[in-house]
């Protein structure tokens, strides 16, 4: 019953506007439900065998025969395809229903054969208890997960804050260093100052003839005195 579906798509492809090779045939077809439609005629049709096998040659009277497929109205085709789609949807839903019914009956039969009524009752009671337990555990699990999420968020925000603070401190340090360097730059010796500084050093001789102990203080008294 699904064979019409895939066969219809080539039919739709065949519905191309094109010149009618035999106007007599078109006139003979009459103003059917497809007026103004000239399908691209391709000589292909479903073969049917009567007296001859497939190895017998065709008769001479069929030499000029052009076998044409039945003409297809594209609007009707679309409508029919849509109807088929919906029909198949409904059918598959019905099949699923019936399958569920059959399985249910089989299960009941099996249970009724093997198991007595009290065991069924106990089974149902235990299943209900199990469901309750599951629900309780789920509630607890959800609470725990919520708390963990909040914890995670808090930790993340703390880390972010620390990072920001570190960054700020670092930037401050760098700023201070830059300013200090700028301050020291005022005392550097440049090519312009060179002559003046040399004159200055030569004018102010300094005596470095002293000793230093381990703490960096100048020693005023030697051991042997």
């Amino acid at each position: 019953s699904g064979a019409a579906g895939p066969a219809m798509l080539p039919a739709l492809r065949r519905c191309r506007p094109g010149p009618v090779p035999l106007p007599a045939l078109a006139a003979a077809l009459g103003p059917g439900p497809f007026p103004g439609l000239c399908p691209g005629w391709s000589p292909r049709a479903v073969p049917a065998r009567g007296r001859k096998t497939r190895h017998d040659p065709p008769a001479k009277s069929k030499a000029g025969r052009v076998k044409l497929p039945p003409p297809v109205d594209p609007e009707e085709l679309l409508v029919v395809l849509e109807r088929y789609r919906q029909h198949r949807l409904v059918l598959s839903a019905l099949r699923a229903e019936f399958r569920a019914e059959v399985l249910q009956k089989k299960r009941e039969e099996r249970l009724a054969a093997e198991v007595s009524v009290e065991e069924l009752e106990e089974h149902r009671r235990l299943m209900a208890w199990n469901d309750e337990e599951n629900a309780r555990q789920r509630a607890r699990r959800e609470e725990r997960l919520k708390k963990e999420e909040e914890e995670q968020k808090r930790r993340k925000s703390e880390i972010a804050e620390k990072q920001a603070r570190k960054m700020e401190a670092f930037l401050e340090e760098k700023e201070k260093e830059v300013l200090q360097l700028q301050e020291e730059a005022k005392n550097f010796i440049t090519p312009e100052n060179l002559e003046a500084r040399i004159e200055e050093c030569l004018d102010n001789p300094r005596n470095y003839n002293f000793a230093i102990d381990k703490d960096g203080r100048i020693v005023k008294r030697t051991v042997l005195s």
């Binding site: 019953s1 109807r83 088929y84 029909h87 409904v90 399958r99 059959v102 399985l103």
Partner: protein
């Protein structure tokens, strides 16, 4: 699982259960049995179960009579049986399944054809009447 069908299906490859019409009766007197059978079996051969019958010739009151065992139909459909096209159409007309699309399409085409046949009859009738009455 579905023991009757699977035990009989042993021995065939790539086959499935099908609900279709098995032809019986005499010359010029067909009679169909609606039957659940293996798809590879002959049309009138051994079947799994008969699910109904259909008399295609109308009776004295102009009715075509069919009988269906809906309970067992549901069982076989639940077991995964396929339907042949005429079986689907019959069940659609019976109301057990939705109407087959080609039933509706065929009815529309028939209606359109009848309208077209009536219009040429009406038009020549008007055309032949007017020149007679008008001038």
């Amino acid at each position: 699982a579905f023991s009757a069908g699977s035990r009989l299906l042993r021995g065939y490859r790539g086959s499935h259960v099908v609900i279709r019409f098995a032809l019986g009766g005499c010359t010029n007197r067909p009679f169909y049995r609606i039957v659940a059978a293996n798809s590879k079996r002959a049309r009138d051969g051994k079947y799994l179960e008969q699910l109904g019958c259909l008399d295609p010739l109308p009776n004295a009151y102009g009715e075509k009579v069919a009988g269906l065992n809906l309970e067992r139909l549901r069982y076989w459909l639940g077991c995964g049986a396929q339907l042949s096209r005429p079986a689907e159409k019959l069940l659609g007309l019976a109301g057990f399944l939705p109407l087959h699309p080609m039933t509706v399409t065929g009815a529309e085409r028939l209606r359109r054809r009848r309208q077209r046949e009536q219009q040429p009859e009406a038009a020549p009738a008007d055309g032949s009447a007017e020149p007679g009455t008008a001038p």
